[in-house]
Structures are given as structure tokens and as C-alpha cells.
């Protein structure tokens, strides 16, 4: 007699993905995170258009200018008010003793702002010229610092927006690269065991012993001088990830050593599955939770790595900005005590990292057969 309890039906086509999505959708925070991550990438993609200013444009009058607040209504002169989004200008005084600019908002100086305004021209994706910015002052050269200005009077908001691009792309390339290498080599090492394992483990030990700082310094000097800064940075990152895979490899190996004697792995082997597929499709999913956790943890690391790199005079070179580079400016007492708005990129890092993490959580749960 057949088991008919489960009513016979069609074998579902995109079964697993539907299932995955169905489960993922239940994780509200993950969905929200997906949206935020989407937004972040949108910002990265359209940075030139979204940023009100050229990120490198400096203005001596506005060094360390505090953020301006957006006002919505202005006096129409007849006792009433009318709708006009605006920011206000500043009275600027230079403190004679500390040589610090003191900015006092001047409510009388109204700087009307608007959407899709003409501003500085830029080359969109390096392809075509444009000068429309999503938001900005109607009059081109009026001060507009929604997130304040930095030590050279550059617009922090624009810099943060442009920084999104680098931080959310190149850093992730580094993470993925070391992840992939780590998974494959660790996988082979743990699955095969024996001689292969010994060799790979010795290589790992060897790589772990490489002192990174002189390596960085050496690499920075070895890069051809006429390479654009982005290429240099990218190359350094790639090389870093080439030596950064050891930890994940050790973990994968450790788990594989015990996994490989599991029946389901043997069963897959008896199915004639290739070694690569066996490692990546059959064994690796048992480690997805760990890998997702490791990735979400590695991302802030990579984003912030630039900060440490710049400490040694490496890393990204101006005019390219990234969150890590921007955060570099916060690492002195001046920022902490007098210009807290410089931490805006830090908030971006936290938001990006948290949403990537919750996204990861959602993915983990959706891929976990036991989860609700």
C-alpha cells in the first residue's frame, strides 16, 4: 500500500529557490536589510549624481564646518511663511587664539535648496558629462554641508557617498577572494587528508608566518609608479587576500576532517560526484553558518583595513575616497572633541555591516533545513 498521506503532486520546478525565498521572506529584518543593502549599492552606483559636491573640492572658508539643518519654510515677508526647503548660511569668525573657525548659523541668510539641481559637472561613470545633482543649493556655489565639512572644508556627505563605491566593492572582492581560496584549499585539505593535508597545512603555517607590515611596505614600493591609485590599491588587496585565506581554510579543514567519514559524504562519493562538487555542494553547506558568520565579520575588517593601511602610508591615495580613508580623519583628538560629525562614515560602516549581517542571518536561516 502506498503512502498516500502526502498527496501526490508534481515535483516542483524551482522547488528549492521558492522554498528559500519563502523562508527568507519570513525574516523581516533580513528583508529590510536586503532593501538597505540594495540602497547602498544604488548609492554606490549613482554616487556622482547623488553627491551634492565633488568630493575633492575644498573650500578654505569651511574647514570643519558643522552640519547644516534643512529648514522647510521661510518667511514670505508678509508675516506668513511659504514652503521653501533651505539651509542657512554662517557667520564665520576665526578664533584669534586657537585659530579655529567658529560658525554661527545666520538665520537671515537663506540658501534655497532643491532636487535635481545643476551643480558641479562630472563625468558619470567616466562616460558622459553631466551636472545634475539629486540635491543641492539652487545657487551653485553656496555652502551646502548636510554632514558637515572636513579639515580641508570638503563636503563630508559627498565624500561619504563616493566612499560607498570603493568600500562596498573592492573590499568585498578581497573578502570573497580569500573566502573562496580558503574554502577550496581547506576543503581539499580536510577531505583528502594525508599527504595533501600535510602539504597544505605547512603552506598555511608558512603564510601565517609572513610578517604583513614589511610585506605591505615592500608591495607599495614595488607597484609601478604610473599605475592609477585604484589599481595599486586593488593589487595590494588581492595580494592580501592571497595570504588572508588561512584562517577559513583551517576551520573548513577541521570540520571536514570529521565530516568526511559521515555516511552522507560517502554516499555522495559513491554517487560518483567529482571532488570539487563533493566539497562545495555536499560538504560545504554544513559549514554555511560558519562561513556566513565569517564573511559578515570579515567585511568590516576589510572596510576598515584601509584605515590601518593608511596608518603606514599605504592604502588608497587621494582623490579616491572610501569609508576607511574617511574614518582615518576621526582618529585624533581633534575630531573626537571638536568635529563629531566626522563619524558619519562610521555610521555608514555600522549600518552596512549590520544589514549585511542580518541579510546573512536571513540567508542562513533560509538555507537551514531545520529552521522554521
Amino acid at each position: 500500500m502506498l503512502d498516500q498521506q502526502l498527496t501526490a503532486g508534481r515535483l516542483q520546478a524551482a522547488g528549492q529557490w521558492t522554498l528559500f525565498w519563502h523562508k527568507f521572506k519570513k525574516h523581516k529584518l533580513a528583508v529590510l536589510s536586503l532593501v538597505i543593502v540594495g540602497l547602498i549599492y544604488f548609492v554606490a552606483l549613482f554616487a556622482e549624481f547623488l553627491a551634492p559636491q565633488d568630493p575633492a573640492k575644498f573650500d578654505p572658508r569651511f574647514t570643519y564646518v558643522p552640519p547644516q539643518a534643512i529648514g522647510w519654510f521661510v518667511d514670505d515677508g508678509a508675516g506668513g511663511s511659504r514652503f521653501q526647503p533651505h539651509v542657512t548660511g554662517f557667520d564665520i569668525k576665526v578664533d584669534a587664539k586657537s585659530f579655529r573657525r567658529i560658525f554661527t548659523p545666520k538665520p537671515s541668510e537663506i540658501i534655497p535648496i532643491g532636487l535635481f539641481v545643476k551643480g558641479q559637472s562630472y563625468k558619470m561613470w567616466g562616460l558622459f558629462d553631466a551636472d545634475i545633482h539629486l540635491i543641492g543649493p539652487l545657487e551653485k556655489n553656496k555652502p551646502f554641508f548636510l554632514a558637515g565639512g572636513d579639515r580641508l572644508g570638503r563636503d563630508l556627505l559627498s565624500r561619504t557617498i563616493h566612499g560607498t563605491r570603493i568600500s562596498m566593492s573592492i573590499g568585498l572582492v578581497g573578502v570573497s577572494l580569500s573566502l573562496i581560496i580558503g574554502m577550496i584549499l581547506g576543503g581539499i585539505s580536510g577531505y583528502r587528508g594525508g599527504l595533501v593535508d600535510r602539504v597544505i597545512q605547512r603552506v598555511i603555517e608558512f603564510i601565517r608566518s609572513v610578517p604583513t607590515i614589511p610585506l605591505w611596505l615592500g608591495l607599495a614600493a614595488a607597484m609601478p609608479k604610473d599605475w592609477p591609485p585604484l589599481q595599486v590599491y586593488f593589487s595590494i588587496l588581492v595580494i592580501l587576500s592571497l595570504i588572508g585565506w588561512t584562517e577559513i581554510a583551517r576551520v573548513v579543514r577541521g570540520r571536514f576532517l570529521s565530516l568526511r567519514s559521515e555516511d552522507f559524504v560517502i554516499a555522495a562519493r559513491l554517487d560518483g560526484v567529482s571532488e570539487f562538487r563533493l566539497i562545495m555542494r555536499h560538504m560545504m553547506p554544513s559549514l554555511y553558518s560558519h562561513i556566513i558568520a565569517a564573511v559578515t565579520l570579515a567585511i568590516p575588517h576589510m572596510i576598515l583595513a584601509e584605515t590601518a593601511l593608511s596608518f603606514l602610508g599605504l592604502g588608497l591615495q587621494p582623490p579616491i575616497v572610501s569609508w576607511g580613508v574617511l574614518l582615518q580623519d576621526t582618529q585624533n583628538l581633534r575630531a573626537i572633541t571638536q568635529a563629531p560629525w566626522l563619524f558619519v562614515p562610521g555610521i555608514c560602516v555600522v549600518v552596512a555591516v549590520l544589514s549585511l549581517n542580518f541579510l546573512g542571518d536571513g540567508v542562513r536561516d533560509a538555507a537551514d533545513p531545520y529552521a522554521k
Binding site: G193, V251, G254, L297, L304, L327, G346, D368
Partner: protein, 328 residues
């Protein structure tokens, strides 16, 4: 097992040779040498040095020689006399410098490590068992805040807060008064008031990632049938989780736990520098930056050796923790 360990230890000799060559090569990699670093440093403060002086310095330090010759001299000294050479910058034998710092380093690192594990593992376990509870969210948020804050920054902020608001003197592990005083209760208390900042700063990022990794791995284990079987015996939940799934979930930690040894020396260089800790880190960083070759080399050799030992320890622990690994 014993045989395995002996074999591994024997295998370390060639590995050490390879590492020493590597260390030596990498140290040579950055442009310039100690003397030019020195010259650059002097020049920076507007002081001058003669290029003749530089050349004679090079000669004195043997920097002019062929790299291979330099390597053999160096390694020869280490092997035959245990002599790691002299630090150019300090004009002191490297051995004196290194061991002086290692004690404090070990103390701080071990304290940090213990606190880190003591906090992160329970929290990690809790947030796995109570997935998506308030505690879990709080732990997650903390973890990522900690990860997303550059340690360097955290250190400065804490230092600032502690000096400006609590009036504790800055950096280091002791107040000047206790710096060279003999051990006493007061000195220990002084140490405690100073040590919490470095321990906190050094520990946060690590704690955060331990929490997340523990949680992730435990989540995978919690549904295994053997956990249910154990539960059916009526075991108290806490003990059950600790003896069964946690043991398996520790595997990733165990795989890399040995590397805390080399991290004693080469981890968190920048932070220890900012915090002005009398540990190996700042000395190594300084040696690397000033290309104080033998000092840096000795540290790297030491940490290379610790990598080897650490990996071995990890492998042994791995085998102890999981009998399935032992067999292979």
C-alpha cells in the same frame, strides 16, 4: 599520538629554516634599510646627517654586504650562539629586548583571552539557543558595533574619556609612581585601573567575532538527533548544550586556537602602540617601521615558531576533541 607529535616536531626544523629565510627576505622587501630610515627620521625633524655618516653606519651594521651573507651570519649566530644580533635602533642585544617585553605581553594577552572567552562563549551560546531573542539582537548589535569601530579609534576615545573624565593617567599599564615599584597590593590595583582599557580594546573585536562564530556553529548543531536523544534523558538544558552541541561547535575555534600564540607578538600592533603598552607589539611595529632588521627578524622568527607550535597544539586538541579526526 606521541609518534605523531614527534614527527611533527621533527618536521618543524625545515619549516623553521624556511620561515627564517622568508622572514629575512620579507624584512628586506621595503625600500631602504635601517640607516635610511634613521636618516629620514632625523631629516624630518630638521636635523641633518652626513651621507658619509650614513655609509659608515651601514658598514658598522654590516648592511652593505650581500643579503645571502647577511642571512647566514644572522642565522649562524642564532644557531651556534643563540645570538640574535643587536638591535640597531636600541644598540642593545635583541635577546635582552625581546624577553623583557614578553612577560607583560603574555600577561595582557592571557588576561584578554580569558576575558574574551569568558564573555563571548556564554553570550554566543545564549544567542544561539535563544535565537532572535532580545539578548540575541543586543549581542549581535554589540558585536557589529565593535567590529565596525576601528580599534585605534576606540582606544583613543577610551583614553580620552578615562583621562579627561576619570582622571586616570594615560596609557601604559602603571602610573609613573608604580612604574618601577616592587609588587604590592597598591601596585596591583594601579595595574587594574590601567589594564582595563587595553583589555577592553584588545578584547572587543575578538569577543564580537567569537560570539558570532559560536552562535553560527551552535545553531547548526542544535537540531542534531543526538541532542534530542540527550534531551530525552532529562538532562538539564544548560549542561546538555555544553556537553553535546557546544563540544562539536567548538571545532572551528579549536582549529585556530593555536594561533593565539603568535598573536601574542604580532597581533594588534597598532592598538598596543596607541595604548602605549609595554608589550612586544609596539616594539615590533617600531622595529618594522624603522627596519631594525635583527630585532624585527627575531620577533618574526619567534612568532613563526609560535605559529608552528600553535598549529600543532590545534591539531592535537582537534584530535582530542573529535575522535573521528583522530582515526585519520
Amino acid at each position: 599520538m606521541l609518534l605523531y607529535i614527534l614527527k611533527r616536531i621533527a618536521g618543524m626544523v625545515p619549516a623553521m629554516v624556511a620561515i627564517s629565510i622568508l622572514a629575512f627576505t620579507v624584512i628586506q622587501l621595503p625600500p631602504g634599510d635601517y640607516v635610511s630610515t634613521y636618516a629620514a627620521q632625523i631629516a624630518q625633524s630638521g636635523e641633518t646627517v652626513d651621507s658619509a655618516v650614513l655609509n659608515s653606519l651601514r658598514e658598522r651594521y654590516g648592511l652593505g654586504e650581500n643579503v645571502v651573507v647577511q642571512y647566514f651570519k644572522w642565522i649562524g649566530g642564532i644557531v651556534t650562539r643563540g645570538d640574535f644580533g643587536d638591535s640597531f635602533e636600541w644598540n642593545q642585544p635583541v635577546t635582552e629586548l625581546i624577553w623583557g617585553r614578553m612577560g607583560m605581553t603574555a600577561l595582557i594577552s592571557v588576561l584578554t583571552l580569558i576575558l574574551m572567552w569568558a564573555f563571548s562563549l556564554p553570550i554566543g551560546i545564549y544567542s544561539a539557543v535563544r535565537q532572535y531573542s532580545v539578548t540575541d539582537y543586543v549581542a549581535t548589535a554589540f558585536a557589529f558595533l565593535a567590529m565596525a569601530t576601528p580599534n585605534f579609534l576606540l582606544a583613543i576615545v577610551l583614553l580620552y574619556a578615562s583621562t579627561m573624565w576619570f582622571g586616570v593617567s594615560v596609557g601604559g599599564l602603571f602610573s609613573p609612581a608604580f612604574e618601577n615599584a616592587p609588587l604590592s597590593l597598591a601596585k596591583i590595583w594601579d595595574f587594574v585601573t590601567h589594564a582595563w582599557i587595553p583589555i577592553f580594546v584588545l578584547g572587543t573585536a575578538g569577543t564580537a567575532s567569537l560570539i558570532r562564530v559560536m552562535r553560527a556553529n551552535l545553531l547548526d548543531e542544535l537540531h542534531k538527533p543526538y541532542v534530542e536523544a540527550a534531551r530525552s534523558k532529562g538532562m538539564p538544558e544548560g549542561r546538555l548544550i555544553l556537553t553535546y552541541p557546544v563540544r562539536v561547535a567548538l571545532n572551528p575555534f579549536i582549529s585556530t586556537v593555536g594561533w593565539v600564540l603568535p598573536a601574542l607578538i604580532s597581533g594588534e600592533l597598532v592598538v598596543s602602540t596607541v595604548l602605549n603598552l609595554p608589550t612586544a607589539g609596539p616594539l615590533l611595529l617600531q622595529a618594522l617601521k624603522s627596519q631594525d632588521m635583527y630585532l624585527a627578524g627575531a620577533f618574526i622568527l619567534l612568532s613563526g615558531g609560535l605559529v608552528l607550535i600553535g598549529t600543532l597544539v590545534s591539531d592535537i586538541l582537534l584530535a582530542i576533541s573529535d575522535p573521528r579526526i583522530r582515526l585519520s
